[in-house]
């Protein structure tokens, strides 16, 4: 009978192997830094979200925390290769440490899709198909919106075709929504979707409708808010340096252009590169979450 008990247990069917030692190491590093939110809390906060995750190949939840790296859709080779290229030809000290094999897809409320990949320094890279992409290799950018134009535009700056996105990330705890404000006074509010470890950051995305492509109606400001509506950060610099349909980038050039100063180097490379003091006010910097 002892054998039969063992045989019956052995005959039970279990789900496939889903071990991930890299994730364990990231969780351990986060624990040592004392900033890890236990998975216990993550799960409690995301019961509804998890149900959605398990039911769909990609994620389509808003204002929730999702366990992307358990159930998210893995990236196709072309996306992995795009991330891998970031470090393939990078000069010494300019490697983002992105882990292309761990790239996952998230579909935000409204249908905007992002590809997200962790970096070795606990940061992350993201890429918006037909939009922009950037890395915050060491979580140096607390609120990092990007304005991207994926279609055609004329020499006089008229946007002739889309998609046009406002997307981005935040590491500001408690961030729940982003207001996208337009030149004509309109405001669109989109939820922040939090992704659990190893990413541990919030993401947002908004496909700008055609009526807001014309001069005088374009997005001009994004405001990060908590669930009670309190402002946590704001940014206008994203709209001074749109991304024009490219794959993932280190984010260094647009970040510098937007006045991010040394934070840009840290965000893009994780290195100790020094830069002269920035001339303008920025919206970057670890722990600030807002600037202007």
């Amino acid at each position: 009978m002892a054998d039969e008990l063992a045989e019956r247990f052995a005959a039970l069917v279990h789900p496939p192997d889903d071990r991930n030692w890299l994730e364990v190491e990231r969780l351990a590093r986060a624990l040592r830094r004392g900033r890890a939110r236990p998975v216990v809390a993550l799960v409690a906060a995301a019961v509804a979200a998890v149900a959605a995750v398990l039911a769909t190949p990609a994620l389509g939840v808003g204002g929730k925390l999702v366990r992307l790296f358990e159930s998210g859709e893995p990236a196709p080779p072309v996306v992995e290769q795009s991330f891998a290229k970031l470090d393939a030809g990078a000069p010494p000290g300019f490697h983002t440490g992105v882990d292309p094999a761990d790239t996952r897809k998230i579909v935000l409320p409204g249908g905007v899709a992002l590809w997200v990949a962790p970096t070795k320094a606990d940061g992350f890279c993201l890429y918006v198909p037909d939009g922009g992409g950037q890395c915050d290799a060491q979580r140096a950018l607390a609120f990092w919106p990007t304005y991207s134009i994926g279609g055609r535009f004329t020499v006089d700056g008229t946007i002739a075709s889309g998609p046009v996105f406002v997307t981005g990330s935040t590491t500001v705890q408690g961030a729940a929504t982003v207001d996208v404000q337009f030149e004509d006074g309109d405001v669109a509010t989109v939820p922040v979707v939090w992704i659990s470890a190893p990413i541990d950051a919030g993401f947002f995305g908004y496909a700008v409708p055609e009526q807001h492509w014309a001069t005088g109606h374009r997005p001009t400001l994004v405001v990060l808010r908590d669930a009670a509506g309190n402002e946590l950060g704001r940014d206008t610099t994203a709209f001074r340096a749109p991304a024009f349909r490219h794959g993932p980038s280190t984010g260094l050039v647009p970040c510098l252009f937007r006045g991010g100063g040394e934070s840009c180097f840290k965000a893009a490379t994780g290195g100790d590169h020094q830069l002269p003091p920035p001339r303008g006010t920025g919206t970057f910097g670890a722990g600030r979450g807002t600037g202007s």
């Binding site: 002892a2 008990l5 364990v24 998975v39 216990v40 019961v47 366990r67 159930s71």
Partner: protein, 160 residues
């Protein structure tokens, strides 16, 4: 004393499925069991200097993992379970006889059976993890075998 990172990684790579499948009986789902395993090994890595070597590394990690699993179960269904340990086969319909036989055991004894047959722990390791004597482990497993034998000969009643 402390444990080496390589030892913990080797244990993880060798035993992940055992941990996950056994903890699923505690948390009620494989998804939450995976969270418990990941978090348990992360804690083991982060706190490996605190491992005193008085028992096996596997048993030390098992204690952490059980705490994580119980916490998850409380979070998932606090009102229903009141935080009590109530391990069960996640999908009982896969073997209703086995499931019914296990239900005749007290929850703590059921855990012993799961640790033996899902986790493949030795009697000594089970005793260390659960905090009972090896004799209790042996008696519990004998009781489980007896319950299964009875279920097989007398049939079972399926609730619901």
């Amino acid at each position: 004393m402390g444990a080496e990172l390589a030892e913990i990684e080797a244990l993880y790579r060798q035993s992940y499925l055992r941990y996950r499948n056994a903890l699923a009986a505690v948390t009620g789902s494989y998804e939450s069991a995976r969270d418990a395993v990941q978090q348990a090994f992360a804690k083991a890595v982060a706190e490996r200097r605190r491992f005193r070597g008085e028992g096996s590394l596997a048993a030390w990690v098992w204690k952490i993992a059980l705490r994580e699993a119980l916490a998850l179960r409380v979070d998932f269904a606090e009102a229903e379970l009141n935080g009590s340990l109530d391990p069960a086969i996640v999908e009982p319909e896969r073997d209703v006889v086995l499931s019914a036989a296990l239900r005749t055991l007290a929850p703590r004894r059921r855990l012993i059976v799961f640790l033996r047959y899902f986790a493949d722990l030795s009697y000594g390791e089970i005793a260390e993890v659960v905090g009972v004597s090896e004799g209790t482990v042996a008696a519990t497993l004998a009781q489980a075998r007896s319950a299964l034998k009875e279920a097989l000969t007398e049939g079972v009643t399926i609730d619901g």
